[in-house]
Amino acid sequence: MTLETYRAVRTRRSFLDSCAAGLGTLGLAHLVGTEGRTAVADGGPLAARPPHHPAKAKNLIFLFMAGAPSQMDLFDPKPGLKKWHGEPLPPSLTKALKLAFIKPTAKVLASPREFSRCGRSGTEISDYLPALQRVADEICLVRSMQTDQVNHHPGQSMLMSGSPLVGRPTVGAWLTYGLGSESQDLPGFVVLSSGRGASGGSSNFSSGFLPSTYAGVPLRRSGDPILYLSNPDGVSRQSQQLSIETLRRLNEENLERSGDRQIASRMASYELAFRMQASAPELLDFADEPQATKDLYGIGQEPTHAYGTNCLLARRMVERGVRVVMLTHASWDDHTNLDEGLRKNCETTDRPVAALLEDLKRRGLLDETLVAWGGEFGRTSLGQLKHVGDKVGRDHHPNGFSMWLAGGGIRGGQVVGSTDELALAAAEDPVHVHDLQATILHLMGLDHERLTYRHQGRDFRLTDVSGRVVSKLLA
């Protein structure tokens, strides 16, 4: 933008007038350039950008189940384990297992869960997930997931960033880097969490070496939903507006003096911040939601209130154009007392998750929203006793576990892949987390081999040096 066009814009809008009218104009954000990344068009680093190819899904909701849910007890029935229950497996079967805590001599633990064939598709789902059973025809269950990592932080890193080592950008950061965001007054990549903190901490939504603009913004459960969203104690919205107004008058003078577009860009950031101060509380205010919707998600009831609130927020954000919403629920790391731990997590999340799919669908949003559910790896068919007198649990297992996808571009009502009858490894159609990442990017309109960023002399990508789009998942 030249100074002349800037001045022209400026004279169209009297700053004092806009004080009365409120600051909620979009003008500057679209007129100014940004940090100089050539791929980013004018309009800011988060302005929506065209995909590589037509997208099947505009938004992603990643229901991240941190800590690794047990696939044998939820999605992948293994009746064959019953005859081994309480016995160790022959060493020939277990010698290649990579285990975190237990020795390969540990004893087999069959699942006590009952599975039903659900919906028209007949997908088998555990009795711990009765609500999901109801929407079984929406989901594409992948029973043959694989990863390279057997510990939480590296595993979560692998799932989110494609590498076990921290420091790479995560999937949400790649997507907002590639596509920008439709939302003009909320961040493009928002993170919600419930339960405990996840092993990966903020590296699960880091922008790595991408500009920090693309990092996930945590929406917090207490205090300000976005850090520093509310004015300092005693500063009214009017005072805030007056301050930003004055700031703009001063900055503008400097813009004319120095000609540096960064100043205009900073002014736009302040305006967006000011709008965010209004729009984030509006996002969080469920007053306009019918009671029936809140009931559907289990809001106002325990134990579903917290996770239900996050799921409803996810839908509201997608409606408002937020590109990526990640819901982290921790922890599913049931080394001990599996039955109880798993039951609690299922009771907390099952109803809200099903509600989210149903709600998105009836609003016509499911077609353009990709929903993914899963953890960083799975759990062993061998039982673990961590401590004297403990109830049994399961150890980490990377070779064959379950995740599911639903929504935009996904062929629901099917099961892809399988594991062997002892749940030791994926048997048919193994899907590596890099394949999952390639598929997610593909559905969002991006080619995982072309979405790159040069860092230390190398073009990095989410899928590292592998990954393929899994066509069986696609509608």
């Binding site: 603009t213 009214s236 002399g457």
Partner: protein, 844 residues
């Protein structure tokens, strides 16, 4: 364009490519091969089996067949590679050759690929090849027309280039801009009011600021980014590293003393091996301890040890050589002349490292420590006796040792043994050492771990009956109360270093051929002192006169901080995919100055900060804007948003709140509830610092890797996990929210108001505004700024008049002389606006 013109121009293009003029090997082909090919296909390295610096090798070709078939361009793989034909990967990897150069190859091959005798013996690589690998030569300082502009030779290089382009440099920036720029760049703090009056001896100012202790604080951050310093381990547990700060302390002091960079290098790379090494040299090896550590239960210790070794090697390569080594982990480097074997030879230098924590007392600490030690021992014994600690610990130790010999027998003992090494550095070795042979600190950490983890092998009831929870509390209380000496994290050479191997697939457990330590073959040879080179040899090699990279890389990173980008804009990558320097002569001249000054870092700073190039105005110029939008020609200065730490420091400083203590432990300023709790299992504690420690400079803020301090993260210091050679300068709404609304910044605005009112008692609005602008921007307000601020002042007071209670919350101090609280409150508002002004957050 009509059809005939199109055909004509196509014809001309063909003619241009198939230039009939005889192509000379020595003038055309040889230099092209030397420049683009022999670095990977030459004497030192034959990627894919191909060597292009000798005719017979070139004709024979590589693994995929003959490269050149004389007389038959179409059958010559070399040409196909250059053209990217037949779907083959296009060469060279740094970017295709110009069509005219490819045309020369075609003509040359067509004409029989004659190779002149003089060049036939394989010396193309010498004196040619990739610019960064050529020896550094002190180039002649170029002549310029406008000699008056030149303040030192930097300016001659810059001006000569501008004059060649027919451009003039920008005028010198305004005095106040220069003053603020120089202060912020050299010390990370803005000028104080007294400095504004001090006059215009900028060269003298540069000397004074280089001598100030704040110089080391400002520039330590750049180094800490590169060596990925943090106060916690990273990964899931992200345990706090209580002694990490001692290394940071060393860096600050080294910079302040202008420790020569060769020594700075040697101490960090091999301080433990230096003859007669001192405690401070051991502290310097804390460099290696900045590697992340994965203490997650169940990790394979050897796997992550391998990752640590790899991380250390690649950090050394990035920081000193500007080369990315990790690309060669799984295969030969695709772009740079680094083979997979080179990669593992570099790793072998660091495979021998053992981690060790040492006593590293600061002056004044040892006396009180020794005086109190006997009493501490007595009280500790008393606690141990009262809780029967050693009685239970003896059998526990025996069973642990038994479990270590009988894996798989008892699960809970297995786990205890396995995780001991994860949670206690060197824990297994300590346990294997008989109690009487342990150092007192070793016994203390093992006992403490036993007290907390005995529960793993007992029932809950039994554990509760021991009272160990209380015992731990008592031990901690004793340790806290007892005057201790500072500790540091260091390394030493393992007694029996593991063998080093190539890992063909890159996986930690995939062992190939054994390798010994060495440097990449394409770089100058390392002359070791013995049969196999040591880390000490590596350190000396890094700063040897023959090494073409270290000095260039180092001066470029300093330059980058002063001009927003390096002379080589890819400051982390001097390899083939990096950008070539904008001013190669200047880069080499600076590198030569650096070396010849005895590796004086301050000398480089002084040269840059006193140059006319540095002093230019940062205003955009229409002529430059079109010709050189990226300012590669340096025809002006640039406006740079302040780095996170500097922004905090400048704000604290103008507010009069900064506690300027230099060095020492990390601090935890106020941060919102819930930030630390995002860490794993809510295990990260943020115990807010008390009193003046909350007002220390940004580089002292405790850096918790998984939950970094939000302000730092918002302003682009979000992670320190891998070597980072340049920070982003992003501009986001979250930054706006942070500066506007963070209570820490509101407190600064309040401090600024308090300061203005206190320092200008009973003075007019204008006089006070002058003071405020002077403090924050080192200048007086313009008349329109005065109008804007007065306008604000009046309207803000009007808003506050409706609610005097709120006004008192804004400014909860006794107003200076006046009863009306709205005026001082409105000054808080003015302070807040100033701290958010683009000019304030920017170095102009």
């Amino acid at each position: 364009m009509n059809g005939r013109a199109l055909a004509l121009s196509a014809l001309m293009a063909v003619l241009a490519v198939q230039a009939p003029a005889a192509v000379s090997f020595s003038e055309d082909i040889g230099p092209l091969l030397a420049q683009h090919c022999v670095i990977c296909h030459g004497e030192a390295l034959q990627q894919n089996g191909l060597r292009l610096d000798r005719r017979e090798d070139a004709l024979r070709g590589g693994h995929s067949g003959p490269a050149i078939v004389p007389g038959v361009p179409a059958a010559s793989a070399l040409l196909k590679r250059l053209e990217g034909a037949d779907g083959l990967a296009r060469m060279p990897p740094g970017g295709p050759l110009a069509a005219s150069d490819i045309g020369k190859f075609r003509s040359w091959i067509d004409a029989g690929a004659r190779w002149e005798a003089a060049a036939a013996e394989g010396d193309l690589a010498r004196d040619a090849g990739h610019w960064a690998f050529r020896p550094i030569r002190g180039p002649a300082v170029p002549e310029v027309r406008d000699r008056k502009w030149v303040r030192n030779p930097i300016d001659s290089f810059v001006l000569a280039r501008l004059e060649r382009e027919g451009l003039a440099p920008s005028p010198e920036a305004a005095a106040h801009t220069l003053l603020r720029r120089t202060f912020l760049d050299l010390t990370g703090l803005p000028p104080a009011p007294a400095d504004l009056a001090a006059g215009s001896d900028l060269d003298g100012l540069v000397d004074r600021l280089l001598d100030s202790e704040q110089f080391g604080e400002r520039w330590a951050s750049l180094w800490l980014d590169q060596v990925r310093y943090a106060d916690s381990d990273g990964y899931e547990k992200d345990s706090v590293r209580p002694h990490a700060w001692r290394y940071r302390h060393w860096v600050i002091q080294a910079l302040n003393r202008d420790m020569p960079f060769d020594r700075f290098t040697l101490d960090q790379i091999a301080g433990d091996l230096a003859p007669g090494s001192t405690v401070e040299q051991l502290v310097a090896t804390g460099f290696y301890r900045n590697t992340l550590k994965n203490r997650e239960g169940g990790v394979n210790v050897e796997e992550f040890r391998f990752e640590e070794v790899a991380d250390r090697a690649s950090t050394v390569a990035t920081v000193w050589l500007g080369l990315s080594l990790e690309c060669a982990r799984c295969h030969d480097h695709k772009y740079d002349p680094i083979t997979q074997a080179d990669h593992y030879r570099m790793l072998a230098f660091f495979n021998e490292l053992d981690e060790v924590d040492i006593d590293a007392p600061l002056p004044g600490e040892t006396g009180p420590f020794l005086a109190a030690k006997p009493e501490f021992d007595r009280q500790l014994e008393e606690v141990y006796g009262r809780f029967r600690v050693k009685e239970l610990m003896g059998p526990w130790e025996e069973k642990m040792l038994w479990a270590s010999r009988n894996p798989g027998a008892e699960h809970e003992w297995d786990t205890s043994w396995d995780i001991l090494d994860l949670y206690v550095d060197d824990g297994q070795r300590i346990l294997q050492t008989p109690p009487s042979a342990r150092l007192w600190r070793e016994d203390l950490v093992l006992t403490e771990w036993f007290l907390r983890n005995y529960s793993r092998v007992t029932s809950k009831e039994e554990y509760e009956a021991t009272g160990f929870r209380d015992a731990v509390e008592e031990v901690h209380a004793l340790v806290d109360e007892f005057p201790d000496v500072s500790r540091a994290r260091a390394v030493q050479t393992a007694a029996r270093p593991p063998r080093s191997h190539v890992h063909p697939s890159g996986a930690w457990d995939d062992l190939g051929a054994e390798v010994s330590a060495g440097v990449p073959a394409s770089l100058p040879p390392l002359r070791g002192s013995g049969p196999s080179p040591t880390r000490l040899d590596l350190a000396r090699w890094l700063v040897s006169r023959e090494n073409p990279l270290t000095a260039r890389v180092a001066v470029n990173r300093v330059w980058q901080e002063y001009f927003g980008r390096g002379l080589v804009s890819t400051s982390d990558n001097f390899g083939l995919r990096g950008d070539p320097p904008s001013h190669p002569g200047l880069l080499d001249w600076l590198a030569t100055e650096f070396i010849e000054s005895g590796w004086s870092v301050k000398h480089v700073h002084r040269l840059i900060a006193t140059s006319a190039t540095y002093r230019q105005s940062s205003r955009l110029r229409a002529d430059l804007g079109e010709r050189d939008p990226g300012n590669r020609l340096l025809g002006r200065q640039v406006r740079l948003r302040l780095p996170a730490e500097t922004l905090r420091d400048a704000s604290l400083s103008v507010a009069g709140l900064l506690y300027p203590k230099v060095g020492g432990r990390s601090v935890r300023p106020r941060q919102p509830q819930g930030v630390a709790e995002l860490g794993y299992g809510s295990s990260v504690k943020w115990a807010e610092s008390r009193g003046r420690d909350r007002y220390r400079r940004g580089l002292y803020i405790h850096f918790q890797r998984t939950t970094p301090y939000p302000f730092l993260a918002n302003f682009d210091l979000q992670e320190r996990n891998v070597a980072r050679c340049a920070r982003n300068r992003s501009n986001t709404p979250l930054q706006a929210l942070n500066l506007l609304n963070d209570p820490v910044f509101f407190e600064m605005a309040r401090g600024l108001a308090y300061r203005i009112l206190r320092e200008t008692p009973r003075q007019s609005f204008d006089a006070r505004l002058d003071r405020a602008f002077g403090l924050c921007l080192a200048r007086r307000p313009t008349s329109s700024e005065r109008v804007a601020m007065l306008d604000y002042f009046v309207r803000q007071r009007a808003l506050l008049e409706e609610d005097e209670e709120t006004a008192r919350r804004w400014f909860p101090f006794e107003p200076a002389g006046a009863g009306d609280p709205t005026a001082p409150a409105a000054w808080v508002g003015i302070g807040r606006i100033l701290l958010n002004m683009d000019e304030f957050v920017t170095r102009e």
